[in-house]
């Protein structure tokens, strides 16, 4: 066989194979064993610690471009918050499309939540949209130094009413500064996570849900205890979905599927629709990675063969 041919498989064929490899496993009911990482367990534990009726701030800085990872993380996090009755004030500072994207995901999620028998998670009374801020550094600095000033003038829609000042919403009742929120959670696909640490660290507990490419830099913040927890990439999404199903040391330490010495029993939500993108995509990701490794091997075998063939040709 000609080694050069192995190194020059036509690109359309490679892309076609890649599409098949990333599509066919999606239709098979596959699963892979999963052991949640400490960072995701910490994030889950912190979210489960929030008392019903308390309010957190979420910076939703993802759009359709990273839907594969960020939407899964957003859904898993919001399932916890909705089921526990935690209120959320949302803002965005990375992309003007971000508020629309998270609102669509929230509408979809609310329907599922109600279908499961949950109380509707209402705009204005349970969550409020503070909107988009065009400069992440300035916006985050404003939120850190003068939350009231940063959010003043922002309006959202109470049911059946014209837009009203967000501070009239029950979600932001009594909120004067960023320290008044139980947590600031950044769901992002951009550097707004770094900007948040730079400007808000030390004022309120910080937690992130980031894309896979951001995991190494976010891990540093977590190791230095600048974050209380984080979910990274598709693995982080799968971890959260696993924890939603199993809890931690739940129902007891002896029989628990996920154990942690750091915590006592933290409940899960067995019987509810906990699985989502993470569970669905993770096995397929393994096929895609195996395919890539196979191509690397094929390319290298081709290179070695062509070198040998060239050497043999030269000897003749």
């Amino acid at each position: 066989m000609d080694g050069n041919k192995l190194q020059s498989i036509p690109k359309p064929i490679l892309y076609l194979l890649l599409i098949l490899v990333t599509t066919i496993p999606l239709f098979a009911d596959l699963s892979v064993p999963n052991k949640p990482q400490d960072a995701a367990i910490d994030l889950y534990a912190e979210l489960m610690k929030l008392e019903p009726g308390s309010t957190i701030l979420i910076a939703s800085d993802w759009t359709g471009s990273t839907r594969g990872e960020s939407k899964g993380a957003f859904r898993a996090i919001m399932k916890i918050l909705m089921r526990r009755g935690v209120k959320v004030a949302f803002y965005s500072s990375a992309d003007p499309q971000a508020p629309r994207v998270y609102q669509d995901a929230l509408t979809e999620l609310n329907k599922e939540h109600v279908a499961e028998g949950g109380k509707p998670y209402e705009r204005w009374s349970d969550w409020v949209n503070v909107g988009f801020f065009p400069n992440a550094e300035a916006a985050t600095n404003g939120i850190s130094q003068d939350l009231k000033g940063a959010f003043t003038g922002r309006k959202d829609f109470p049911p059946g009413s014209v837009p009203k000042d967000v501070f009239a919403s029950p979600v932001l009742e009594g909120k004067e500064k960023v320290e008044d929120f139980k947590m600031l959670l950044v769901i992002t696909a951009s550097k707004t996570s770094n900007i948040t640490v730079e400007r808000i660290y030390g004022k309120t507990p910080l937690a992130f849900a980031v894309t896979g490419v951001m995991v190494p830099e976010t891990q540093v913040f977590y190791q230095a205890k600048q974050l209380v927890g984080f979910s990274g990439g598709l693995k982080g999404v799968l971890d959260l979905e696993t924890l939603l199903e199993t809890g931690v040391n739940y129902p007891d330490k002896a029989t628990a599927k996920v154990k942690s010495e750091k915590y006592d029993t933290i409940e899960g939500f067995p019987g509810k629709k906990n699985k989502g993108q993470g569970t669905k995509y993770y096995p397929t990701l393994h096929f895609a990675l195996a395919f890539m490794i196979l191509l690397v091997v094929v390319g290298n075998v081709g290179m070695i063969m062509s070198k040998r063939q060239a050497a043999a040709g030269g000897a003749k």
């Binding site: 003007p96 009203k164 913040f221 205890k225």
Partner: protein, 247 residues
Amino acid sequence: MKYEDYLIWRMGAGVLATIGLYSVLYKENKLYRFFEHVFLGLASGWTLVALWTETLQASWWDKMIGTATQDGKVVNGSWAYILLLPIGLMGYFVFSKKHNWMSRIPIGIILGLYSGQQIQVWWNTYGPQIAASAKPIFPTTFTSLTVPSKEGLTPEQIAIINGNVYTSQAVTNFLFVFTVLSVLSYFLFSFDVKNKALKFSTTSGRYLLMIGFGAIFGSTVMMRFTLLIDRMYFVFDEFLKQGILRR
């Protein structure tokens, strides 16, 4: 049109755009160019409207002219906000050869504000990381190689375990501290490294950095694959299976 039909049409447009944009993988073509321009136009239009409705109106216009709430309350505006307009407009003089000095005024203000924040920014980012890098590298007990289980122990016993450094922890900490120091030494570019120990440290630093870059690259590849998987899920499952075939 029923809402379900609208959703199918909306998803269909998304599928068409996905196919159009992926068609560049075969070769550069007009379908790809068309959808690229549609995307750019939509994004620009959306951004322009969002900038006004979500930012300028609330943060500047309403504060300048004042607002009236539904229950009859009036919030007075402040004329001083008008002063922001000429400062902002000065930025556009960057396009004038004669008057581009004016654009430096708003840029200077922004640079000044940004620079003033950097001490706090630096400390918030790196202060805790420097503190967390100081880890004990010598074990304080040899009763067990690894950290013993804390299950069923009293708080006092747990405190004793937490207060000790076990051999496994010491090894992990040593690897961490060695990595930090060797990577730092790699960046000593201002003099010729002849000392053998320092040479070993800088070489180790280079290899450890390579391992780090490899891990970052691995995460990036996984992320890109996930995004492709999600697109395929959108096209074949959400649109085709759940949308078209279930009708």
